[in-house]
């Protein structure tokens, strides 16, 4: 870390007092923040910045996506697996508005991004000029911070602030909109890293009294249950989490954003929370005596009906964002702090303990779920292919060590339920926003950030068609992602709801799909179609064989299958259904 700091300082020193344009100042500022990768798409209002970038191609790799939504999801994937800040460029007007879905996604899933948009020259602001839009106002409710630069002298300071804000406290997307005249304006460059903004206090520290009270609840608990979310991954608190649950023998369950913070095969990992989560952790939420929530925000997909959620339990909430505390679930003890710091300070106050009877209850739940749901999903003997058996095979072949990037819908739930995640930061998904079309571009960004890891994009046939143009980017830059379409020719999750709650009135959910293999091959990406159980393993092996090549599998799965267990929308987690 220190060498990186030094490198950044020396770069700032090298560039000091150089007379440059605003555009070059943008690129030099990014270099000072150690940016090596940008996803973007040029256009009129950002051309000076792209021109400046042309001279820095040896130090910054730019990926030309095929749609700005692809750029921002790629930047999100990059940020999520690396822990660093994802960077994307877009031009004004439609370029900027095409980023909006990704900005909103990054905001709700706490993903650090710096999005730089070109803007019309300042004298044209507000005149309905060509490709002018008020992207600052549009993005206001969905950015952590935003700033419009009209004077190039502000550029270094604004970019320094952007990086500090994006990746401190609860991370999030920052938008910097730069007018074309500012991009062309000459300035004397000087860069100083931002370390403090008085109106922004990103890292509140735990209070000793709260830690003591929390420890007391935990130490006296007979049926503790810990829930962990994305905050654990962001804070890199996985070791602290493990130590605490092992010391006090606390079963731990994850939100889909927290997945991969604790090895799926860890004996205290009791599984997934929420609507399509595991039977045990949902049921036991309403039976535990102490509920310890770490770095999660009690999303409605996790809690179901709040009036019937963990009412019997003492609630401990460890959370860095004060606005999340008491927002959905009233806490008995709130520790407003970074998860790593809070767990580190809590650990010495926790007594060693055993809860074997309580853990046995979870085991019984798992057995019941296995019998009624899992067994048939993973080891079907007849009928069409099940998504679960495919994921199970993928998990086996990659030894649970790949980065799995999922889209939104049934395949997402199945991938998370059945892939065995052994390494941290290997689950990338659109959790809070549920953005279809997220996975393909996000997998590109993930692979660029982690070139030595196997990156698998698992996507439904619906979501794939939302951003499939990025096959062009994958092909152009030879980004070797492994793409699996779990194709049921349906918008599967919507169809499932129609079946269960709308009397099987399948209103516009069936899809007549194109030939995905031909499309992929048209982009120069090898592909094959899989239709039978016997073909799965061979096709997967061929896909994983050449690590340097992207590959696509169109796997035809059973059309009308439901994901279970399920907590119906608005129902209590206690009423989780197994069928």
């Amino acid at each position: 870390m220190e060498t990186l700091e030094k490198k950044m300082l020396s770069l700032a020193e090298t560039f000091k007092d150089r007379e440059v344009t605003g555009s070059e100042a943008v690129i030099m500022s990014l270099l000072c923040e150690n940016v090596s990768t940008i996803f973007g798409y040029p256009g009129g209002a950002i051309m000076p910045i792209y021109d400046a970038l042309y001279d820095y191609q040896d130090r910054i790799k730019h990926y030309l996506v095929r749609h700005e939504q692809g750029a921002i999801h790629a930047a999100q994937g990059y940020a999520r697996v690396s822990g660093g800040v994802g960077v994307c460029f877009a031009t004004s007007g439609p370029g900027a508005t095409n980023l909006v879905t990704g900005i909103a996604d990054a905001q709700i899933d706490s993903t650090p991004l710096v999005c730089i948009t070109g803007q019309v020259p300042s004298h044209l602001l507000g005149t309905d000029a060509f490709q002018e839009t008020d992207i600052i106002s549009i993005s206001m409710p969905i950015t952590k911070w935003h700033y419009q630069v009209t004077d190039a002298r502000e550029i270094p300071e604004v970019i320094a602030k952007a990086f500090y804000i994006a990746n401190s406290g609860r991370p999030g997307p920052v938008l910097v909109d730069i007018t074309k005249d500012a991009q062309n304006q000459k300035i004397n460059f000087s860069y100083k890293k931002c370390e403090r903004i008085r109106s922004y206090q990103p890292f509140p520290k735990p209070k000793q009294a709260d830690l003591i009270k929390a420890a007391e609840f935990i130490n006296n608990s007979e049926k503790p249950l810990l829930l962990f979310g994305h905050g654990v991954l962001i804070a890199q608190a996985q070791e602290e989490l493990k130590k605490i649950i092992e010391k006090a023998e606390i079963p731990a369950a994850w939100t889909i954003m927290g997945l991969s913070a604790l090895d799926t095969s860890h004996s205290l990992n009791v599984g997934m929370l929420g609507m399509h989560g595991n039977y045990g952790p949902n049921l036991k939420t309403n039976e535990c005596d102490v509920l310890i929530a770490v770095g999660m925000r009690f999303d409605d997909r996790v809690t179901g009906d709040l009036k019937r959620y963990a009412k019997q339990a003492k609630i401990i909430h460890i959370e860095i964002d004060p606005a999340e505390i008491d927002k959905n679930v009233k806490t008995d003890v709130a520790i407003n702090a970074d998860a790593k710091i809070a767990l580190r300070d809590l650990l010495p106050l926790i007594k060693e303990n055993k809860h074997s009877e309580w853990l046995q209850e979870f085991k019984e739940c798992t057995e019941k779920e296995f019998e009624m749901v899992i067994s048939d999903e993973l080891y079907p003997k007849s009928g069409g292919l099940k998504m679960g058996e495919v994921i199970n095979k993928v998990s086996e072949l990659t030894k649970g060590e790949a980065i799995v990037v999922t889209d939104v819908g049934q395949h997402q739930m199945i991938a998370m339920r059945y892939y065995n995640y052994h390494k941290i930061r290997t689950n990338v998904t659109s959790g809070g926003f549920g953005t279809m079309g997220f996975a393909l571009p996000a997998s590109m960004g993930s692979k660029v950030a982690k070139p030595n890891e196997t990156v698998i994009a698992v996507i439904g046939d619906g979501g794939f068609q939302m951003t499939l143009q990025e096959l062009g980017c994958i092909s152009q830059y030879k980004i070797p992602v492994k793409i699996i379409i779990l194709n049921n020719n349906f918008l599967g999750m919507v169809r499932q709801w129609q079946e269960l709650f709308f009397e099987k009135r399948y209103s516009f959910t069936e899809m007549v799909n194109p030939d995905f293999v031909a499309i992929s091959k048209g982009f120069g990406i090898e592909a094959e179609k899989v239709e039978t159980r016997e073909e799965i393993e061979g096709a997967l092996q061929r896909m994983f064989e050449d690590k340097e090549k992207p590959y696509l599998l169109n796997i035809i799965v059973e059309k009308e299958v439901n994901v279970f267990p399920m907590v119906a929308s608005g129902d209590s987690v206690s009423n989780i259904r197994l069928s």
């Binding site: 600052i136 106002s137 206001m140 409710p141 952590k144 911070w145 935003h146 419009q148 804000i165 401190s168 370390e195 403090r196 903004i197 008085r198 109106s199 922004y200 206090q201 990103p202 890292f203 509140p204 520290k205 209070k207 964002d321 004060p322 606005a323 008491d326 927002k327 970074d338 790593k340 710091i341």
Partner: protein, 197 residues
Amino acid sequence: MLSKSIYTNNLNDEEERDFTISILSENSVGMLHAVTIIFTRRKVNIESINASDSEVAGVYRYTIVIRAKRSVAEKVVKQIEKLVDVLAAFLYEQDQMHYQEIALYKMAKKNLSSNPEILTVIANHGAKILPTELDYEYFILEKTGHKNEIMNLFNDLEVYGVSEFVKSARISVSKSKRETRTLIEQLENSNFNLIDA
């Protein structure tokens, strides 16, 4: 330990009532919009809003009155405080601050001559007549007070004809002993800027 907001605890959450939110913010373009959309999102109507300087140079103060349940008001204040350029946001019940509003009433001079008792009404309400040019056909009254006092005067005058009426947003000062300068110093020196200070 540093805490940007102060709240009073355990107040009843059943009834909707007036809350005053006082926000200290950096002077950045678009701040007012960034603050108000937080209310829009929760569909909370703003009763009144005032933007002004504060006692510290460069720091702005927004005073916003909303009608809401306490739990909603608290959540909104936390969301406002989350804005990067907001230094602090405070939630006040009616009895936790001193507040005033100001109103102007425009009336025709001829009403005064035909209804001299208007002068008594004005005096009873503690309003005052603003100095205006002699040849104007109207006169202007100014009244400072709480909303109900201002509206009572309006009701009393309406029978004589009020040709224009305007009331300002509420402005308030808290009963707290907190000093804004001290608070800002605390923010400037806190160790909350880095993860492990």
